[in-house]
Every structure is written in structure tokens, then in C-alpha cells.
């Protein structure tokens, strides 16, 4: 089976003043379609940077990122934007819902940006799956953290992305809400075959994945390839 995501000798170097700071130092990973992969590692090891680079939010300094056969490192900013729109769904630790919009409009926004038009069937399936049908008219400020994260997940998957990239999705949640969100991600993976890459600090959360990648100092030190 061809990997949905593959990186080869991936480097990302940030320049701070006159000093080069390498955040990724030659990362090689493969993720197969339908996999649920967790990434663990200490703060500053490059987990979030890797998520940004493989999701097309940031440009790699060198190396290759192949997402569904497209090499992100050779793409223009506009092409990476297009790729994010059609193939990537992001879930963030701080939910990042638009505060001026209710849950319904936050989710529909993704479809609007994709410009495919509103798909009511897909919307209903996603809203029911995530159990947010009764909260659609509520704004983020009127919802609990767990509910906000479920809306954020709905927004990430409503356009059927090839891969969902979740950056510490339970980092701002209590234990009960964390468990609910992790169960949801696991069921999305199991029932819909959604490929998920999740960053977490929590070993219990990481255990929801099929595989755990361990990072340290900008390198993947364990779990990089499928066994």
C-alpha cells in the first residue's frame, strides 16, 4: 500500500536574528491511508513544526513531503493553500473556532472556502456523528471546551480530507472531555477510515493511535515506519 504521507530527509530551519535554529533535522516518516498515528515528544522537539510542514502551513527548508502523491516542497504558496483546502483538516489545541459565528456557520465555513457548495447530507452525517446537532445555533462562547473541540473536528472533516492533523486536541480539555474527543477521533478512524495524525503529550491519549512516533531534537527516534 502506498503511503498517504511520506517525508524524506525533511528539514525545517528557522532564522532567529543571525542564528539558524533547526526545528526538524532530517525527518523520514511514512503514514498509510487509514492509519491513526500519535506523535509524542518533549516540548520544543519539533512536533508542531512537523505538523505545520506536512500540512502545508509552513514551507520545508529542504527534503521532501509527499502528501497523496503531491510534493509540498516544490509547491507555490497558492498551490499549498489549494492542497490544504482539499486534502487536509486541522484540529487545534485551542479549538480556533471563529467567535463571531455559531457552530453551524463555523462548520459550513470550511465548505464555503472549498467552494463546492453546501452539502447538507455530509453536514448532517458529520453533525450526528459528533453529537453536536443540538448545539449548532450556539456560539463558541456558549459551549464547553469539549463541545467546541467536537465542532472543530466537524469543521476539519466536513470536506472529507485525506488526512486530519490534530495538534494536542485534548490539551485544553478535562479528563472526561478528553476521553470523549479521543473516542470520537478513534471512531472516525475506525468507521470512516479517516487517516489521523495526532500530537500529544499524554501517553494515554497516544495509546489511541495504531502507532506512536517519538521525536527528540528535531528527529523521529522511534516508530517512523510501518512494521
Amino acid at each position: 500500500m502506498e503511503p498517504i504521507l511520506k517525508t524524506e530527509n525533511l528539514w525545517k530551519i528557522y532564522r532567529t536574528g543571525k542564528v539558524d535554529v533547526p526545528a526538524l533535522r532530517g525527518v523520514d516518516i511514512q503514514i498509510l491511508p487509514g492509519e491513526f498515528v500519535s506523535i509524542m515528544g518533549p516540548s520544543g522537539c519539533g512536533k508542531s513544526t512537523m505538523l505545520h510542514v506536512i500540512g502545508g502551513l509552513a514551507q520545508a527548508t529542504r527534503g521532501k513531503v509527499l502528501l497523496d502523491g503531491n510534493d509540498l516542497t516544490t509547491m507555490t504558496d497558492a498551490a499549498r493553500t489549494m492542497l490544504r483546502r482539499h486534502k487536509v483538516g486541522f484540529v487545534f489545541q485551542r479549538f480556533n473556532l471563529l467567535p463571531t459565528l455559531d457552530a453551524y456557520h463555523n462548520i459550513v465555513l470550511a465548505q464555503h472556502i472549498r467552494a463546492d457548495g453546501f452539502d447538507p447530507h455530509r453536514f448532517e452525517v458529520v453533525a450526528n456523528l459528533l453529537g453536536i446537532s443540538a448545539r449548532l445555533k450556539h456560539k463558541p462562547s456558549e459551549m464547553s471546551g469539549g463541545e467546541q473541540q467536537r465542532v472543530a473536528i466537524a469543521r476539519a472533516i466536513v470536506c472529507e480530507p485525506k488526512i486530519v492533523l490534530a495538534d494536542e486536541p485534548t490539551g485544553n480539555l478535562d479528563t472526561k472531555s478528553s476521553e470523549a474527543v479521543l473516542n470520537l477521533l478513534a471512531s472516525l478512524n475506525k468507521d470512516l477510515g479517516q487517516t489521523i495524525v495526532m500530537i500529544t503529550h499524554n501517553p494515554e491519549a497516544a495509546a489511541y493511535g495504531h502507532r506512536v512516533l517519538h521525536m527528540r531534537d528535531g528527529l523521529v527516534v522511534d516508530g517512523a515506519t510501518v512494521h
Binding site: 509552513a58 497558492a78 493553500t81 483546502r85 487536509v88 463571531t100
Partner: protein
């Protein structure tokens, strides 16, 4: 999303809309005031009832800005021309005390022959040297009545009568009195010429041009079309400057409003980018919000303009403020374009934000 964003900060939205409304009001009122004054002045000149107006060489169509007066004896030469029924010499003076007014020095008999005479609301015609006639608009706005003393042009006049407005000026005195005061004995600023039939006007105008080459000979039929801001030196520039100031207000307020909005929504822009929003999509959102604010401002500005006009006219009854659909449309367009220009840099700035930096913005 755009309407939600606009309503998210109601005070900022209100201030922005108010600024655009003030911009639109400024344009409409300034233009309306100048156009209104010109139109009103033109209508009064037409209201004299003459067919032709003769002025000195290079005289302005705006008689208050006229040049040197002409010998009054010219009137006799004009009367001898074929098809000429009557000629009324008028000396014009500009009064700037208690407002801006044109004063006509007239000979009652010849002025009556051309204009058909005044319609009196009260009082009587000019008789004594210090008599003055005022029109009903002036009487109302200055609260002046018959038999009161009116101090203008450094002179005390006795208000002899109040006449219906629309006969050239709002104030009329005897010509010898005004000539004496102006040091222009036997001089006149304008000759109003009445033809025996209106269709003889072109022929009479040609005769006058032959008789008085270089003099300004203007058929009054076309007078309204000549009374535009472009014919008054400096007025068009004044209007343009006022429009420029109004646009600058709108531009700066919109710029500041959208700039702070973009800074405040940095994180949201990062979210939109993570969802795959293109640069043009983000620019479109910012400019759409601006357009919505400007449209609200234009609507408010038009309403405010009518309100201001009502207040001005109540306070100063002699004022005419002309609000035309054409200038409402132009003021609206100016406000929207100025607003879009003001929002273009914030929109460009938003579209170029780095998504990773934007998402980590606190």
C-alpha cells in the same frame, strides 16, 4: 460571516459608519450649498424678466464679482436699437454686513418696464433717497419689517417696502443713492434689455455686439446653464478641496478601523488559511466588510444630509441647498471608493500573514 464580523464590535462599527456618513454629508452639503446658491441666484436673475444682459468687457457671469461699471449713457444707445422694448440699467454692489447680499441700484421706472414691476407684500415703492426695498425671504430671515432702519453698506436705509422674491437681488435702492455711495456717478454694472418679442433676442444680441464690441452680451434664456461652479473662478477648486478632505476623513477612519480589525483577528486569519482560504478570499472578506460599512455610512449620510438641510434652512431661510440624485450617487461612490482604498492595505496585510505565526498570535 461578513455581517457577523461587522456586528461583533458594535461601537467600532457605529463610529466607522458615522465617519463615512459625515464624509457623505460633507460632500452633499458643500456641493448642495454652492449649487443651491448658484441656482437661486440664476433664477433671480432670470426672474428680472429681461431677454438680454449686457455687462462690461470680461465681466463675470456672477455679477457680484463684476468688473468696472459702464457709462449709463449706453442705455440710451441700446433703446434706439430695433426690436428693443425697454432697457434697465442696474448698479450692483456687494454687501457683506450681516450676511452676503447683492444690492441693486435701480431706476424704478425703467426696472418696472423690463421686469413688469414688483409684487408688494407691504409698504410702497422707492421714493426717498434712503429708501430700500427688501424681498420677503430677506425679511423673514433677518426679521426686518417695513419702516424699520436697515444698516448696510455703512448707511442707514429706511425699509420702504417688502416685495416678492425673484427679481435679481434681495435688496433694491435708488440708483443715484448707490452711485453716490460707490463713487460711480452716471455708471451702471448691468443693462437688462427687454425685446419686443422673445424671438428677436438673437437679432438684438447681434446688434448689441456690433454696437459694443468686447462687451459681454448674454441672452438670459441660457443663463441657468452658465451658472455652474466651473464658471466661477476658484469655486470648482474649493469644492474639490472639500471633497478631498471628506475622502481623507473616510479613508483614514476606514484604514484605522480595518487595520485594528485585522490585528485583532490575526488568529482568525490563521484559521481561515489553515482551512485553505486563498489570499484573494481573505482580501475579499476585508473589502466586503468595508463595502458593507460604507453602504451603511452612505445611507446614514444621505439621511443626515436631509436633516442638516432642514436645520440650515430653518436657521437661515435665505439659504438654498440643492440635493440632487446625481450628487447623492457621486458622494456614495466617492465614500465607497475611498473606503475600499483605505481598506486595501489592511486587506493586503491580512492576505500575506504567515498562517503559522497567525495561529500562534495571542
Amino acid at each position: 460571516m461578513i455581517s457577523h464580523n461587522v456586528l461583533h464590535r458594535p461601537l467600532r462599527t457605529f463610529i466607522t459608519v458615522l465617519a463615512v456618513a459625515v464624509e457623505v454629508t460633507l460632500v452633499i452639503i458643500v456641493v448642495g450649498l454652492t449649487s443651491g446658491l448658484l441656482l437661486e441666484s440664476a433664477k433671480r436673475t432670470e426672474g428680472v424678466g429681461a431677454d438680454i444682459m449686457v455687462q462690461p468687457p470680461s465681466a463675470s457671469v456672477f455679477m457680484a464679482f463684476g468688473g468696472a461699471p459702464m457709462p449709463i449713457a449706453i442705455a440710451d444707445k441700446l433703446r434706439q436699437l430695433e426690436y428693443v422694448q425697454a432697457v434697465a440699467p442696474v448698479l450692483v454692489q456687494f454687501n457683506s454686513v450681516n450676511g452676503l447680499d447683492i444690492v441693486y441700484g435701480i431706476d424704478p421706472e425703467t426696472f418696472r418696464a423690463v421686469s413688469g414691476g414688483f409684487v408688494f407684500h407691504s409698504g410702497h415703492d422707492l421714493q426717498a433717497p434712503n429708501d430700500i426695498l427688501i424681498d420677503d425671504v430677506y425679511s423673514r430671515s433677518k426679521k426686518v419689517k417695513v419702516d424699520q432702519t436697515l444698516h448696510i453698506l455703512e448707511h442707514d436705509f429706511h425699509v420702504a417696502g417688502i416685495v416678492e422674491h425673484g427679481k435679481g437681488a434681495r435688496l433694491f435702492v435708488l440708483m443715484p443713492t448707490l452711485q453716490e455711495m460707490a463713487g460711480a456717478r452716471d455708471k451702471a454694472s448691468i443693462f437688462y434689455v427687454k425685446c419686443d418679442r422673445p424671438d428677436h433676442t438673437p437679432a438684438v444680441a447681434d446688434e448689441i455686439r456690433d454696437l459694443l464690441p468686447k462687451y459681454e452680451v448674454r441672452p438670459l434664456k441660457d443663463f441657468l446653464t452658465l451658472m455652474t461652479s466651473s464658471n466661477l473662478p476658484g469655486l470648482a477648486a474649493f469644492i474639490n478641496v472639500m471633497i478631498g478632505i471628506a475622502v481623507a476623513i473616510g479613508f483614514l477612519v476606514i484604514f484605522l478601523s480595518m487595520y485594528t480589525t485585522i490585528i485583532e483577528r490575526t488568529r482568525e486569519i490563521g484559521v481561515l488559511k489553515s482551512l485553505g482560504a486563498s489570499k484573494s478570499y481573505i482580501v475579499q472578506i476585508v473589502l466586503s466588510e468595508t463595502t458593507l460599512l460604507c453602504i451603511a455610512g452612505v445611507v446614514g449620510g444621505v439621511g443626515l444630509s436631509y436633516l442638516m438641510r432642514a436645520i440650515f434652512i430653518r436657521l437661515f431661510p435665505s439659504l438654498t441647498i440643492l440635493i440632487t440624485p446625481g450628487w447623492i450617487a457621486r458622494a456614495g461612490l466617492i465614500a465607497i471608493l475611498g473606503g475600499l482604498l483605505g481598506a486595501s492595505y489592511p486587506a493586503w496585510m491580512a492576505s500575506r500573514k504567515d498562517p503559522v505565526e497567525a495561529l500562534s498570535y495571542e
